[in-house]
Amino acid sequence: MSSAVRQIAENIYSLEAYAPELAKSAQPGQFAHIDCGGSAYLRRPLSVCDVSEESGFVRFVFELKGEGTRQLANSQYQISEPQVGRALGKGFPEVDGRVLLIGGGLGAAPLLFAARRCGADAVLGFANGKRAILIPEFSAACGTVNVFTDDGSLGKAGVVDLSGVDLSQYSAVFACGPKAMLRNCQLMLAKEQLPLYVSMEEHMACGYGACLVCVCATKKGYSRVCKDGPVFESGAIIW
């Protein structure tokens, strides 16, 4: 068996695929560009959520959106190593000291991999309890985990809020989630001397930096999310 998929929350699936090279080489924040088969012509970017170097399996957590993810969510469908491909993009930096992880929705996925590689605490936000993902994994990998939901059905009610967090213990903040949340992180942390790294999203074609379709506006002009990112130093982004 080269892959296995199961539903873990409302409309959200966990895929484990046998891709030993990727498992060995991937860094937190990097993504795979997956050939989903079926009628999806372009590959689909999914962040590496976790790896097991021993078994050679790589985990992805994804939301069912359209043609590509529908194919991946089909439990009859086996995905091969070439379909998964190699580790792409620039991930989170290695930092000395503790890291605060801020994840919104599916944005929690790459942060779990980061939590495995550094000392971290997490603040996670979801639409509601049914859409919450990876909380047991984060609890095992992190010191503290704070959960927020928009409707208060799990954890605290409201959007991700850092007011109760002692930021002085951290060397950096890693954030991934909807753009509005990332912009909010930039605002919340603007006065702190804390480097903030954000993972950006843009629609892709090649996934390896050659075609220039996936750009986002940065202070250096248009940068490629797939090659110069997806992780950028927040100050470099034109929000």
């Binding site: 012509y41 843009e202 629609h203 892709m204 074609a205 090649c206 050659a210 075609c211 220039l212 379709v213």
Partner: protein, 280 residues
Amino acid sequence: MVSFAGINFKNRVTLASGTCGFGREIAELYDLSRLGGICTKGVTLLPRLGNLPPRVAETPAGMLNSVGLQNPGVEAFVRDELPFLRGFDTKIIANFSGESPEEFAKIAAILVEGGVDMLEVNISCPNLHAGGTAFGTDPVASFEVTYAVKEAAKGVPVMVKLTPNVTDIAAIAVACEKAGADALSLINTLLGMRIDLKTGKPILANVTGGLSGPAVFPVALRCVWQVARAVKLPIMGLGGISDVDTAREMLLAGATMLSIGTAQFRNPLIPLEIIDGLGE
């Protein structure tokens, strides 16, 4: 060895302009010296930022792009990118476009001075003197651009890249031949659009974009067939080639050289598989 417009290529396969940047990202995957040639990302006289994102929309068996010729400008290309490409034993075909015949000639002169093997003239871009319609949709404008570039090229072969967004592609091909082109490449992308049903708005920020990939292959094949029967110039065929079979069809339609674009986005090694599959 394949002789094309007076140049000896080691095989028939090149990478299509705009789908391989300036080769650096592909060089991380394999030795560029294995390729017949590389058609580099289109450059313009001055740097261009390109269009607002989103710049890509998926389509059945293909995609639309609206990159908008984002590039660092011809001077930066010659200074920062060409020396790297020159480190490989492959032919460098420099793709470029301008806003007037004079500007095309000026860019061609800089590229020739810089030392490229061949010029690929992208006439699918808007002609500012003609209200923004593409040079390549008008035989007279196509003639003028080709003529101006040929004069500036100092003997470096000039390949004109044709757009399929025309009523009679053979007429444009004939105009380019009369103006002194050494070869033709075709096709560039087909103009298209998509609308996001959730928002009711076009997916591309630029509204329209160029269609490429397997979806355009039958159109490309038809264009190459028609042009091959209208001119004596050698043809580089492209548009939707995605495997050895489609490569063979393109050769049968009348192409001598091939260029692989969008198919790389699914499998970046496909150009090498096609080289091996053609047995060259």
